[in-house]
Symmetry: C2
Subunit: 273 residues, 2 copies
Amino acid sequence: MIGRRLVNGVESSAISVDDRGLQYGDGLFETMSAQDGRVRHFERHMERLAEGGRRLGLPVPDAKLVAAECERALAGLGAGSVKLMLTRGPGPRSYRPPAEPSVTRIVVSSAPKPRNDPDDGIVVRLCETPLGLNPRLAGIKHLNRLEQVMACAEWNDPAIAEGLMSAIDGRIVCATAANVFLVREGRLVTPAIRDCGVAGVMRGIVLAAARELGITSDIIDVRPEDLGAADEVFLTNAITGVRPVGEVLGLRRYAAPGDVTRTLIERTTRADA
Amino acid sequence: MIGRRLVNGVESSAISVDDRGLQYGDGLFETMSAQDGRVRHFERHMERLAEGGRRLGLPVPDAKLVAAECERALAGLGAGSVKLMLTRGPGPRSYRPPAEPSVTRIVVSSAPKPRNDPDDGIVVRLCETPLGLNPRLAGIKHLNRLEQVMACAEWNDPAIAEGLMSAIDGRIVCATAANVFLVREGRLVTPAIRDCGVAGVMRGIVLAAARELGITSDIIDVRPEDLGAADEVFLTNAITGVRPVGEVLGLRRYAAPGDVTRTLIERTTRADA
């Protein structure tokens, strides 16, 4: 079954060409996994959205309203995903944000996508498109995503599941639509998200799970050579969860899933995770 | 009179929430000045659009079609401006661009805005929001404009007409919606647009006019101290043309318009410019 689209609570698939979301990418989004008609990790998504709203000066609607609209969009679908977009709404032609924006709220539900991740881990590549550095925009999930689009346009081999992106100074920061973790000598390592990249909800869930499990996490800069020296590598994303990496093309292969990755998959897919 | 909106040649002000222009800012735009029902410097705008299309892998429609739609949008308005947006169209939820995108073409005309630029030059400030560096996106006029939005949100004093933006390494690159030129000892200086910023159409026209007038232009890195040492400063933008700067707040005042600025204003406002 195909999903539903709600614009400001009304079934519609249209927004105005004057909307600042289109004009400037002036907005935020969340892509959330749904089960049994409800969004998983809803509070974490709303926390990140609120942080994005604070950073952009964009008023974020009440979480109860968003939750109700997500459930409406999921009616009849049950499982799948919900994408919420929040824009600064229609406005006169000017970069300057209006003092009292009429925020546009867009909720789109989708049926689950078939997943064919191999048992021995996905293949990822290193992308050439760099991530520009801007501490003001780092971490939040805003609508300016051309860097990710261009990185994904670099390959079309369906055997390659994802691409790792580096900051302009060579640090590996994240995948195009996922965060990245390394396991080395039993410790977790994940890149610091301080001047580019998105601080993923599933990244936060994995870090919390690791704490509970007594696994130490180092949030530090990661270089390509660190990937080469890792025992395990995995990606995280709210929709696809924890995905073990079997190979970073041109760099090395990993026995996947490794023990730590397997433990974290089990922990984060539990119903109460 | 209010302007018109055309979406793919049809009078409409709606696009789909699935459009990649909204979802990712996956597209380009041009904001063009119009006189007597026609776009000024249309060919230069189409050249930059074509360059953006090449860089993003986005097919750009035939310039004749765009010209005809701009003229339709301007009918009854005559003068004012036309904003053209070109997006990679609706697509399934994925950063990966579709192999054969159905490009969305949006043309919006607007009546001229009243301009109250002071005779002794506008006041500009230095913005704190930095421009992230990304050579893949520099120069072209893409739809990812959150940095400019956040820079404009830094002030609301209407006496301040524009804000200068610096790259993350401190170089001054452009204003939020204009390029910047300095005059020093009779030579023009304008920042190189190599890893951030937009290569404005009016910037190109001013550089061409300077060549014709025998004025040497240096396209180099510009630091705040260079602004302090300049004899004249002006901004360029396709809609507002060449605007003399009377003061950079906290840095210095200039006698405006200076001789070189005045010469370039005259040259670029000629009907055949």
